[in-house]
């Protein structure tokens, strides 16, 4: 494998191969892509949309800054879903252009790739390198909202996700972690602290969809992170979601020549992660 493909994120000791020429080409296709979905999401009630491999998904702010929590899973196999922790290890804590969102075992493959991030981050005096779009979100649980002093009438991001999953006949156990789009945060000591978002109306994130996915979006009751929950009196701001027709065939994963494990050790005859309570064959310990 060419060494140029070996690393994507500088300083990450866990980075993965990345074909930047391919993704630059896909990014260039945005201007001519044909839209098939354009939807305003104004109700904080858990919004689900289904996207196909090769399509572009854009989340755009249309009413001012707003944190949008996002989780995604394989629409044919919900067991394969966004894995924030491997994403953090591989691409770092914050999403930006060319970041990938990684899925769970057994395939551990890119689910989406960020093509466009228009948010510009302003520095904060005394704070080291704040950035937007952290991936280690805790899904804004009802308890977190409650113990932060938030009004009980607001729907937490977790509750929004749970509602969206329930409408799909799926259980809330799929909610483990999520990406926090348009959220401004900084690593401070042992904390990841949230600051008021610098995002503006018109700012957007565009993702290239690598496999068929169901995407759930939750409008954070924390709005743009400016105020603590006990001081928030407004409803979340609307965002626009757009999906194009496919613009390119996603690259096969793994890339040619890349070291890759034997997935048959983990998958059953249906191609999903085995539910048998057994050790990995040949690696019983």
């Amino acid at each position: 494998m060419p060494s140029a493909l070996k690393r994507n994120a500088d300083h990450s000791s866990h980075s993965r191969p990345f074909d930047s020429a391919f993704y630059r080409g896909v990014a260039d296709a945005r201007s001519t892509a044909k839209q098939r979905v354009e939807q305003v999401v104004a109700d904080p009630a858990g919004y689900r949309l289904d996207v196909k491999a090769g399509e572009l998904l854009t989340v755009e702010l249309i009413d001012g800054p707003q944190i949008v929590n996002m989780l995604a899973f394989n629409s044919d196999d919900p067991d394969e879903r966004f894995w924030a922790h491997q994403t953090c290890l591989i691409d770092g804590l914050f999403l930006s252009r060319w970041s990938r969102l990684w899925g769970t075992m057994a395939r551990l493959r890119p689910l989406m790739t960020v093509l466009e991030d228009t948010v510009a981050t302003r520095p904060i005096d005394g704070v080291v390198a704040p950035k937007h779009h952290p991936v280690l979100g805790g899904a804004g649980t009802p308890a977190q909202w409650h113990y932060s002093g938030g009004g009980m009438s607001a729907m937490s991001s977790w509750a929004q996700f749970a509602r969206g999953l329930e409408a799909s006949g799926l259980g809330a156990e799929l909610i483990v972690d999520n990406a926090c789009l348009f959220q401004k945060s900084a690593v401070e000591g042992g904390r990841v602290t949230t600051y008021p978002s610098d995002a503006l109306r018109g700012d957007r994130l565009t993702f290239f969809v690598e496999i068929d996915l169901a995407v759930l979006l939750a409008l954070s009751p924390c709005l743009d992170g400016s105020d603590p929950p006990n001081q928030i009196r407004s409803s979340p701001r609307a965002v626009k979601v757009a999906v194009t027709e496919p613009v390119a065939e996603p690259l096969a994963w793994p890339y040619e020549g890349m070291g890759y494990p034997d997935l048959s050790l983990y998958l059953d005859s249906n191609g999903v992660r085995s539910t048998e309570a057994t050790p990995t064959p040949g690696r019983e310990s």
Binding site: L89, I175, T193, P228, G259, P261
Partner: protein, 254 residues
């Protein structure tokens, strides 16, 4: 994520201080050494018991999955953990479970690992660094050893659970942090010494699966894995009766 001004969750410091003070009176009920070649392990802990993981000889990272023993769909939630407690575990840190219950599954009541200083907040016992897996090893080393995923799968199997119950985990004895400039993950070699331990009080019945990480003490970067002989060292797991009942946790409506 921590919102500025977030109130603390309820924490009865007096109760946990009393628990810590009572540790010398705990009664050991089991003592098991996890060692190669059996690098995955699983065990149960009853509510009110404590479990201790001990460095036996040399520094060794262990990846640990913690689940409710009565309902394993409730399990450790690292994003929530990071938001409430921060990036590392030490004494008086609680280990939080998934919503909707969103309650502490266990509480750290002892941590003997010491380090001289904490540049860039690279500390021991990390809450967010996931687990190594066959993809990781095959890509970087061309080998597929018993990765943490495989070890955790073996540990889950001992508890009658499938690999689908593997989820976010703690990385005990691992020295890591997030680079505040880049947001990238940093790791250094563990400084734990023989006899060092970390101990948790079980707030509910627990199932615990653990892995002796093939990364050893964490001192060898993935780029250096090919051809490297990374030793894996034993860890002991001890379970104690504490004689104390966990505090009740308030139920919230969702």
């Amino acid at each position: 994520m921590t919102l500025r001004g977030i109130p603390l969750y309820p924490f009865d410091h007096e109760f946990y201080a009393a628990l810590v003070s009572a540790r010398s009176g705990f009664t050991k009920v089991s003592d098991h050494v996890v060692e190669p070649p059996k690098t995955g392990w699983g065990f149960e802990v009853k509510a009110g018991q404590a479990f201790r993981i001990v460095t036996v000889s040399e520094p060794q990272i262990t990846d640990v999955c913690i689940l409710n023993g009565d309902d394993p769909l409730e399990h450790y939630a690292a994003g929530t953990q990071l938001a409430i407690e921060g990036s590392h575990v030490t004494r008086m840190t609680r280990v939080w479970g998934t919503a909707p219950k969103s309650r502490p599954l266990c509480t750290c009541i002892a941590d003997t690992v010491k380090q001289a200083d904490v540049p860039r907040n690279i500390r021991h016992h990390v809450v967010y660094s996931a687990h190594c897996n066959p993809h990781h090893w095959t890509l970087y080393s061309g080998q597929h050893p018993r990765t943490c995923y495989d070890n955790l799968r073996a540990g889950m199997a001992l508890m009658g659970l499938s690999q689908r119950y593997i989820h976010d985990n703690l990385n005990l004895f691992q020295k890591s942090g997030l680079d505040p400039h880049t947001g990238h993950f940093l790791i250094e070699g563990s400084e734990s010494e023989a006899g060092d331990y970390i101990e948790f009080f079980a707030e509910t019945n627990l199932i615990v699966a653990m892995s002796l990480c093939p990364y050893g003490g964490g001192g060898v970067e993935p780029d250096d894995w090919p051809g490297a002989e990374i030793p894996v060292f034993p860890l002991a797991v001890q379970i104690y009766d504490t004689g104390m009942e966990p505090l009740a946790w308030p139920q919230l409506s969702t």
